[in-house]
Point group: C2
Chain length 124, copies 2
DNA sequence: ACGAGTGTTCGTTGCTCGTCGAACATCTTA
DNA sequence: TAAGATGTTCGACGAGCAACGAACACTCGT
């Protein structure tokens, strides 16, 4: 419980203590199949869109408008992390999220845009 | 059994008689989820790649190198049709296939390229 | 007309995935 | 230290999907 509170000047609000922080898979190590399956779920696409609409590190896990339980939501975040789509950071009691837009886009160009663009095949 | 055998000068080898030909869903009517799910399967991605590698209307259904039964294969083709990825045409006893590259690409830009490009997240 | 070749349909089986409730862990505040 | 807030983990359940064998349908040869 010591914990040095030396606020590191970083992009995010500076993480507090240290909880067993999740594994962040690099998009470059993500098989195409994993990426496609991750974005094939409607709930996860909503999460991705809401993340893209807001600024980085602004939204804790519980702040998303999806019709599922905390348990299910946690699972979805896990899948997004494993797909190289999500980065998380703990601050206080909440876990803040960031969409890895640039990194993911570099590995799967166009895929994220498709999701953010819209639902129909006619797009837009 | 009448059937006008006026060989229509077309792109494909000109269809013979008429079997209950399959329903071809227009890519513009395909939800993003359907497209993603269709390409999320490894067998279907193989089919798509082999189709893209060869010329249009050259490959009958049974000519693909995938480790599944005829029944399963038929099901996969059905899924690809419903995703607006495949067009089929009957000639004699075989059903020839064509990848709807341009049409699908217009609706889901970049998606097909991703599949054809490769498997890894590092692409290429 | 018959048989071979090709593809679809049907019913079943097994596995994966999304979902939930309940219990647990961690951090903050009173 | 106790209470509250936020997420995660742990079975369990149900739906969906890929896969198969077998039976059927259609076309082309002989």
């Amino acid at each position: 419980m010591p914990a040095r509170n030396r606020a590191r000047a970083e992009t995010p609000p500076a993480a507090t203590h240290h909880r067993a922080l999740p594994v962040h898979t690099d998009p470059a190590d993500v098989p195409l199949e994993t990426a496609l399956l991750a974005l094939a779920d409607p709930v996860r696409r909503t999460l991705v869109r809401e993340l893209a609409a807001d600024e980085d590190w602004r939204r804790p896990c519980g702040s998303f408008d999806v019709p599922v339980t905390k348990a299910t939501l946690s699972r979805h975040f896990s899948v997004l992390r494993d797909a190289g789509l999500l980065e998380q950071r703990d601050v206080g009691t909440k876990r803040l999220n960031r969409l890895r837009r640039a990194e993911f886009d570099a590995c799967f160009p166009g895929l994220l845009d498709l999701v953010l663009r819209g639902e129909a095949g006619s797009a837009d």
